[in-house]
Symmetry: C2
Subunit: 510 residues, 2 copies
C-alpha cells in the first residue's frame, strides 16, 4: 500500500468515524417523559409544594410524587391557562392562549362554540377547532407542533391518554397528525366516559359517547382501572425505542383526575376511613392512582437502567376543579390556600404542580421560585433535546426554563406572564371565572374583569390567596400593570368578548 | 505518526467501517406491504386470474390490480381457510387452522362460541379467544407472531385496518400486542359498522357497536370513504420509516369488501348503469375502492422512489361471500366458475387472489400454478426479510414460496394442503359449509363431510368447479387421500365436532 493511499484511507475512515459517532451521540440524547395530569390542583398532593403543609396535603397520599420531588426540582410558581385545551395547545406550540386564540376548551364536534350563553357578550371568533398542524382548516391555530420537531430530530414520539387538541373531523383529533408516531387512547375528547374496565371505558355498544376512550380493548372486563391501563400502554410503547436505544418522547396525558369522579377501589376505603365525603374520597383515589403511575414509571426506568438518562416532567393542565358539585364540599375551597380553581384566573385556576427530575442537571430536592408557564415547555424541551434552530412557523412566546433547572436560584422577576379568557366557561360567573384577564410580574398579580372593567392588584409574596386587593394602596403599580396588560394583549392580537349592544369587541384594558 | 499507529488506526477504522456499513445494509432490506382484502373472491377482479376471462371479471373494474399483475406474479391456486380469523391467525403464525384450533371466526366478546346451534353436534373446544402472543389466556393459540419477529429484526411494523385476531379483553384485540409498533383502526371486530364518514364509521354517540371502527376521527363528517381513510393513514404511517430509510412492514387489512355492503358513491353509478342489481353494484364499488387503494399506494411508492425496494403482496382472507342476501343475485353463484363461497371448503370458499410484486426477483407478468396457502406467508416474509433462525415457539406448517417468486415454473405437486372446519358457520348447511374438511394434493381435491362421513373427489385440472365427484372412478385415490387427510388431522391434533349423543369428538376420517 502506498503512503498516499494510506493517508487517503485514514482520511476517509476518520471522516466515517466522525459522521457515525456524531450520529450515535445524537441518538444518546435524554429521553423525555411529559407526565400531564388533567385538572390536578396545585396542592392536591401529599407533597407540600409550597413548602408549608396545607390541609390539602394532609388529605392526599402521593408517596411516589414526593419521591420524585426529592430526586428533582419543584417549581412553586408554575402556571397554565385556566382550562385545558388552551394549555394543551400552548404546550405543543409554545404560544400563549391570548395569541393562539384557542382560548376555551374545544368541543368534540367541529365548528361548535363551547361558551355558555350570556346576556352581555357574544364570544369572539376564537379558534373553536383548536390546533392544526396544517393550514386550511377553518378556525384553527396553525403551528409546528413540538412532537413533530422532536420526531424530525430523532426522537421516537409516543402519545398515550388524553389529547384534546381539536374536534372530530379535524387533523388534531388524531395525535398521529400532531407529530406522534404512536398514539394510544388520544382523540378529540376532553375527558373519559368512564374509568372502569367493567364499563369498557365507555365503549359498551349502544352506550358510547364522544368520550368513549379508544384503543384499550385488551383491558375490557378486567380489573384494570383506566389510569393503570394507560400506564401499562405507555410502558409497553417505550419498550421499542428503549430496545433500540433511540431517545423517546412520551407524552402521557392521564385522563385522571378529570370528572367523572369515579373511585379507584384499590385506594378508596382509606379515604372514606379518613373521613372524606364520598366524592372527595373518590377524587383522592384518582389522585393516588396517578401517583401509582408515577411510581410504576420510575420503577420501570430503574429496571431498564435508563433512569439517569430520562427527564421526567410532572405537571397538570390547569388548576383543580372547585365547583361543588361535581366536587364534594363547598365550591371554591378545593385549592386553598389558593383562591378558586379551574376556570378562574385566580391562582387556584392557573397555578399547578411542576416537578422535573433531570439527573446530572437538576440538583436533587431543590425548589425554584421562578414563575413559569405552559408555553415554556416547548422551548424547554427543545433545549433539553439539544435542538437548535428548529423550523417552527409560529412565534414562540415561551421561554426555556433550563437555566432554572441548572441552578434553582435563577429567576427572572422582570418577566411578564399573562392569562386571557374572553369566554364564558359557566353560568353564573364566579371569582375570576368568565371574561377575565390577568398578569403577573415579579410578585404582583393584576386581575382584570372584562365584564366590568374592574381591576384588582395582589401582592403574591404577602398574599398567595389573593384575598386583599392592594390597587388602592399601590395605584401606580395597578395603573402601570394594567397598561402593560393592555399592551401585551394588543401585541398578541388577543380577542376580546363581543358586546351584544354594539356588535364590537371590547377595547383592551388601558 | 508512527507506522504502527497508522496500521492500528487503519485496522480500527476499517473495523468501524465494516460494522457500520453492515448495519446500514441490514436496514436496506426490502419493505413489505401485505395488502389483505376481506372476503374478496378469487375472481372479483377485472384481472382474469385464471387466465380465462370469467363473467365476474367482466363485472368488476380493477385497473390498478391489473397493473400490479403485469408488474408481478399471479398465483392461480392460492388458498386460505374458509372464514377469516382462522386465516388471519395462520398468516401471523404460519400454522394451519387444524393445528392452531382457531377454526372459526372469533366473537368480539371473550369466551363466546360463534357456532350456530346444531341438533347433531356440539362444537369442539376450539380456541374461541383467538391468537395470543402470551401464555395464560384461556382458549387461545399461543405463538410468536410474524410482526414481532419482523420488528425484532429491524422492521418498522405498522398495522392499519381490520385485525380480528381475538376478542375484547384479550391481548390480541390490540395489534400493538401482536408485534405492531403502530396500530390504526385494528381491534377485535371482524367488520366495520359503517364505511361512511357521515356515520363516523359507526362511532356516532349512542349508536356504536362492537364494530365501531376506532382511530379515524379526523375523517368524521368529511367525504372520505373508509377504504380511502385507511389508505391515507397507511401512507402517513409509512412516512416515518421511509424518511429514516428503515425497512417497514405494512399490514394493511382493508375492512372492504366485507358486509355491510355499502356503496362507494364515487363508483356506484357506473355499476348500476351496467345493469348490476343494487347490492351487486354496491359490492362492485367496494371492490373498485380497494383497487383505488392499490393504485394510491403504488403511486406513493413511485413518488418516494421506493417502488423497487418494496414487495407488494395482494390477497384476501377467504373466498367471496356467496349468500344472498346479503349478496344480490342467487346464493352460491358469486364465485363461478368456482363452487360456493365463503364458509365452504369448496374452491369458492378457500381460493383467493394472490399477486406479488417483487422487483428484481419476480419476473414481471408471470403466473404461478404452485398451490400455496395462508400459512405460507409467515416463512415467505421471513425469507424475503432475510431472517434466518428466528426464535419462533410454534411449529410452522407453512412453506416459503420464495422459490416460486424467483422462478414461476417451480411447483411442488407432492405437497399436501388441508382445510378443516369442525364448526357450524350458519343454518342451514350448504355445499361444503359446516363440518367439513378437505385436502389437496397435486390436482386432486378431496372433500370430506364430517356430518355424514361422505367423501368426494375432484380433479381440479379438469374440473375447477368441482361439479363431478370422481371418487367412484378413482377409488384408490379417494381412499388414499382420505387416509392422508385422517393422518394429517391426527398429526395436527385437529379437533372434531362433538357428537351430542356420545359427548365425544368424532373420529378422524380413515
Amino acid at each position: 500500500m502506498k503512503r498516499i493511499n494510506k493517508r487517503a484511507l485514514i482520511a476517509f475512515l476518520s471522516m466515517w468515524f466522525i459522521v457515525t459517532t456524531a450520529w450515535a451521540q445524537q441518538v444518546s440524547r435524554p429521553n423525555i417523559i411529559f407526565f400531564l395530569v388533567d385538572d390536578l390542583g396545585w396542592n392536591d398532593l401529599s407533597l407540600p409544594i409550597s413548602g408549608n403543609v396545607t390541609a390539602n396535603n394532609k388529605k392526599y397520599h402521593t408517596p411516589h410524587i414526593e419521591q420524585l420531588a426529592k430526586e428533582g426540582i419543584v417549581f412553586t410558581d408554575a402556571y397554565t391557562a385556566p382550562v385545558c385545551t388552551p394549555t394543551r395547545v400552548s404546550l405543543i406550540t409554545g404560544v400563549n392562549a391570548a395569541r393562539h386564540h384557542v382560548t376555551n376548551w374545544t368541543s368534540p364536534q367541529k365548528d361548535r362554540y363551547t361558551d355558555a350563553a350570556d346576556e352581555q357578550f357574544d364570544p369572539p371568533e376564537w379558534n373553536i377547532n383548536g390546533f392544526s398542524p396544517e393550514p386550511g382548516i377553518a378556525k384553527t391555530f396553525v403551528g409546528t407542533p413540538l412532537p413533530a420537531v422532536l420526531r424530525d430530530h430523532g426522537y421516537f414520539t409516543i402519545h398515550v391518554g388524553k389529547a384534546h387538541w381539536g374536534p372530530r373531523g379535524t387533523p388534531s383529533s388524531s395525535p398521529n397528525n400532531v407529530g406522534f408516531i404512536v398514539n394510544i387512547a388520544g382523540h378529540a375528547a376532553g375527558h373519559p366516559q368512564s374509568y372502569l374496565p367493567e364499563e369498557e371505558y365507555g365503549n359498551i355498544p349502544g352506550k358510547g359517547s364522544f368520550q368513549s376512550v379508544p384503543d384499550l380493548e385488551p383491558y375490557y372486563q378486567t380489573d384494570v382501572f383506566l389510569t393503570d391501563a394507560l400506564t401499562r400502554e405507555a410502558l409497553k410503547a417505550i419498550e421499542y425505542p428503549v430496545s433500540r436505544k433511540q431517545p423517546f418522547f412520551l407524552n402521557l396525558g392521564h385522563y385522571a383526575v378529570h370528572t367523572p369522579i369515579m373511585g379507584d377501589k384499590k385506594y378508596l376505603q382509606k379515604y372514606l376511613d379518613a373521613g372524606l365525603d364520598s366524592v372527595e374520597a373518590r377524587y383522592a383515589s384518582l389522585v393516588e392512582g396517578v401517583d401509582k403511575s408515577v411510581g410504576d414509571i420510575l420503577a420501570y426506568l430503574k429496571q431498564k437502567n435508563i433512569e439517569k438518562n430520562t427527564v421526567f416532567i410532572f405537571t397538570s393542565d390547569n388548576g383543580g376543579l372547585s365547583l361543588a358539585p361535581p366536587r364534594g364540599g363547598e365550591s371554591f375551597t378545593h385549592n386553598l390556600p389558593l383562591r378558586v380553581g379551574k376556570g378562574s384566573v385566580y391562582e387556584g385556576g392557573i397555578r399547578v404542580p411542576l416537578i422535573v427530575k433531570y439527573d446530572g442537571v437538576v440538583k436533587q430536592g431543590t425548589v425554584s421560585k421562578n414563575y413559569v408557564i405552559a408555553e415554556d415547555i416547548f422551548p424547554t424541551l427543545l433545549e433539553i433535546a439539544g435542538i437548535r434552530n428548529a423550523k417552527v412557523i409560529q412565534k414562540v412566546d415561551g421561554k426555556s426554563f433550563v437555566p432554572s433547572l441548572r441552578n434553582a436560584a435563577v429567576t427572572d422577576t422582570n418577566r411578564v406572564l399573562i392569562w386571557h379568557y374572553p369566554n364564558k366557561w359557566r353560568n353564573p360567573d364566579g371569582p375570576g371565572i368568565n371574561y377575565h384577564s390577568a398578569l403577573r410580574k415579579d410578585n404582583w398579580k393584576l386581575v382584570y374583569n372584562q365584564r366590568t372593567g374592574e381591576r384588582y392588584l395582589y401582592d403574591l409574596r404577602q398574599d398567595i390567596g389573593e384575598t386583599t386587593d392592594v390597587s388602592g394602596k399601590y395605584p401606580a403599580v395597578a395603573k402601570s400593570l394594567s397598561a402593560l396588560l393592555g399592551q401585551t394583549l394588543a401585541e398578541y392580537n388577543a380577542l376580546m368578548p363581543v358586546d351584544k349592544k354594539t356588535g364590537r369587541q371590547l377595547a383592551y384594558p388601558e
